[in-house]
């Protein structure tokens, strides 16, 4: 809500303030779009880390989700900058941060981190992984798709064993470079918040690590969700050893994520700096529902319980699938609440530490709920197109091409 609405708007906002706040704190400048941005970026990093399990750590059970993870990461990465662009007053000038770089501004460096991750890592890895499929699809598809595949394969035609071996090697090297890059991408998002020393809710060296871990949690959960829904829609059987394995990783990731967040909490409580009282009333009043109920109870404890139940009780495959499905949906909601609590929570208390304000979300506006929902739905549309164009099974219904042979040899 903008203060340009004049005295009436100001009076309306003043009614929601408790205690004392500075005049410029009444308006929450970083809206729900800035909540969507770290959430979507986190999904990218998490999905890529899952994909790297196959290539770098050679975990063959996870193989069925390898290509799906890569394409999910790409679909979400393509949409990740959109919330930021919509948030800008002059989005058409965004390219200037790339042409006149400012290395002393962490925010201005985002363009480079993003461009590196998109073009230096993800597109390259996907291209090497799909090159053979693209060549075969270019030969078997009809016009105009065959031309699309021809352009996508960069008119490459070489499918000799030596050339395919080079592709496999290249994918592996890129994945190894990709892991620190994925850490950089999402650690960077945490850094943007963690480096704000004037804001005690954000300013913490643990912030990039906490962001990274929650990114891994949300990314893995998302790939599981998409994998299960896709198998259901296409009427294919779900690979249970694969699902069991990934959910085990998810379980460990949630535990590490929870431990880090608990450590951060205890650390703040023990340090008990002058901000501790206002942060206390922030989490017990303004963020009670989104932090304690949604993030910690619904998004962490209940899914953990469900996963323990599914692992320990020896249920049948159908019940396990249902339990996993419930857990990953709850985890998604929980991680979205985590982003909400960081971004919105950090703007709800006064820098005077003496008062709290309220965030009233718009519904229709460019920074409103509808825009956020569209932005959250867009990656799925992109993913649908990508999956239509780049099949995860390889051409002519064959089992996975290069990647499978690598995994099978180990």
């Amino acid at each position: 809500m903008s203060l340009t609405k004049g005295a009436d708007g100001l009076a309306e906002l003043l009614g929601q303030v408790t205690g004392f706040i500075y005049p410029n704190e009444i308006e929450v400048h970083w809206s729900i779009l800035i909540v969507v941005y770290p959430y979507v970026t986190g999904l990218v990093a998490g999905a890529f880390i899952l994909a790297s399990l196959v290539k770098v750590f050679r975990i063959k059970e996870v193989q069925p989700t390898y290509r799906l993870s890569l394409l999910t990461a790409l679909a979400f990465l393509l949409i990740a900058p959109l919330p930021l662009l919509l948030h800008l007053s002059q989005p058409q000038r965004f390219y200037e941060i790339l042409l006149t770089p400012n290395p002393t501004s962490a925010m201005a460096m985002f363009g480079f981190v993003y461009a590196w991750y998109l073009m230096g890592v993800l597109l390259l890895e996907i291209w090497f992984e799909y090159r053979r499929d693209l060549i075969e699809l270019a030969q078997t598809s009809r016009f105009p798709l065959n031309w699309v595949y021809r352009v996508l394969s960069l008119y490459s035609k070489d499918t000799s064993e030596a050339s395919l071996a080079f592709d496999r090697k290249a994918t592996q090297v890129i994945t190894i470079i990709g892991i620190p890059s994925a850490f950089l991408l999402h650690g960077y998002v945490g850094f943007i918040f963690g480096s704000v020393k004037a804001n005690p809710w954000w300013g913490s060296v643990l912030m990039p690590i906490v962001f990274l871990m929650s990114a891994i949690v949300s990314g893995i959960a998302l790939v599981i969700l998409i994998y299960m829904v896709r198998a259901g829609v296409r009427g294919e059987p779900i690979d249970m050893p694969c699902l069991d394995r990934i959910t085990s990783y998810l379980f460990y990731a949630v535990i590490v994520d929870f431990s880090l967040e608990a450590l951060d909490f205890v650390h703040r409580l023990y340090q008990s700096e002058e901000s501790v009282k206002i942060l206390g009333s922030l989490i017990t009043h303004k963020l009670f529902m989104s932090l304690w109920v949604v993030q910690i109870l619904l998004g962490m404890f209940i899914p953990l319980g469900i996963l323990v139940l599914a692992k320990a009780c020896g249920f049948g495959a159908e019940l396990r699938k249902l339990l996993y499905f419930t857990a990953v949906i709850l985890i998604q909601i929980g991680i979205f609440a985590t982003r909400w609590n960081v971004v919105i929570g950090g703007q709800l208390f006064s820098k005077s530490f003496r008062g709290l304000t309220t965030y009233k979300m718009e519904v229709m506006g460019i920074e409103g709920l509808l825009a956020a929902l569209v932005l959250l739905a867009l990656p799925f549309v992109v993913l649908y197109v990508l999956l239509k164009l780049l099949p995860t099974e390889g051409p002519r219904g064959k089992a996975l091409s290069g990647a499978t042979s690598t995994a099978r040899t180990v």
Binding site: F20, W127, R131, L154, Y155, S156, K157, F166, D167
Partner: protein
């Protein structure tokens, strides 16, 4: 070693991308965007080429010397004429051709005098909704020599925030003059004739000193010789909202 075919093709694509970036960076972008000194000098040129709109207060004084003399002694002495009357270079060049704006609505004065908690206490501020609604400000106040139409009787007329704080504190029943002596001139010249403030621990001890005769029995007592001996009382306790409760 033979370079694989796909690497050659990728190299072409990457080469084209790098070339496009370099062209954009070194050909498309004007030098004024990358060189700070050039950027500044061009900005200065651009700004100084704009037409002048303000005549400046000296130009106003040449004709309106009576108003200028009055304003020079008033609270508004630091304000420029065109701050309220809008840029008036045309009027200065040919007084009959253009007339400056005379703000008679309630918005111009409100830019400085509408209540805003970030303004210093004591700065005259009003609530537009309740303060003589619909009346033009200049009906009661002369903007060239603004004084309140009535001299304030109580401190709260200007120090409302302190008054409200004190009203809910255990010092609510104390009048302001218990601790501050304000010369009469403070009401008309608040910045030049300042009220006094307590300057020693002894002052608070007259009510809060242990074992003193004549202290009110409900006031919390401390041994003034040992309690926080190195500090003045108001370094720890805010006198308008002291935390001690009887």
């Amino acid at each position: 070693m033979r370079i694989p075919e796909q690497v050659k093709r990728l190299a072409i694509v990457i080469g084209v991308l790098v070339a496009l970036t370099l062209v954009a960076r070194f050909v498309l972008i004007p030098r004024s965007l990358t060189s700070t000194s050039l950027h500044w000098s061009l900005t200065t040129q651009r700004e100084s080429a704009k037409p002048v709109k303000f005549a400046g207060s000296t130009a106003c004084q040449d004709c309106h010397d009576d108003i200028a003399a009055k304003k020079a002694k008033s609270f508004h002495r630091v304000l420029a004429c065109e701050g309220c009357h809008a840029p008036s270079v045309k009027h200065a060049e040919d007084p009959s051709a253009a007339k400056p704006v005379i703000p008679r609505d309630r918005t111009t004065c409100a830019r400085c005098h509408a209540y805003d908690p970030s303004r210093p206490t004591g700065f005259p501020q009003i609530n537009l909704t309740t303060h003589n609604p619909l009346k033009s400000c200049s009906t009661c106040h002369n903007p060239h020599d603004p004084v309140p139409p009535k001299v304030p009787k109580e401190c709260a007329a200007c120090h409302a925030q302190i008054e409200r704080t004190k009203a809910v504190s255990s010092h609510a029943l104390l009048t302001c003059t218990t601790c501050h002596k304000a010369p009469e001139r403070h009401k008309t010249a608040p910045r030049t004739a300042l009220p006094s403030k307590p300057d020693s621990r002894e002052f608070c001890a007259t009510c809060h000193g242990q074992g003193r005769a004549g202290t009110p029995k409900e006031a919390p007592k401390v041994d003034i010789a040992t309690h926080g001996a190195r500090n003045l009382c108001w370094e720890c306790h805010y006198p308008h909202l002291p935390e001690g409760r009887p």
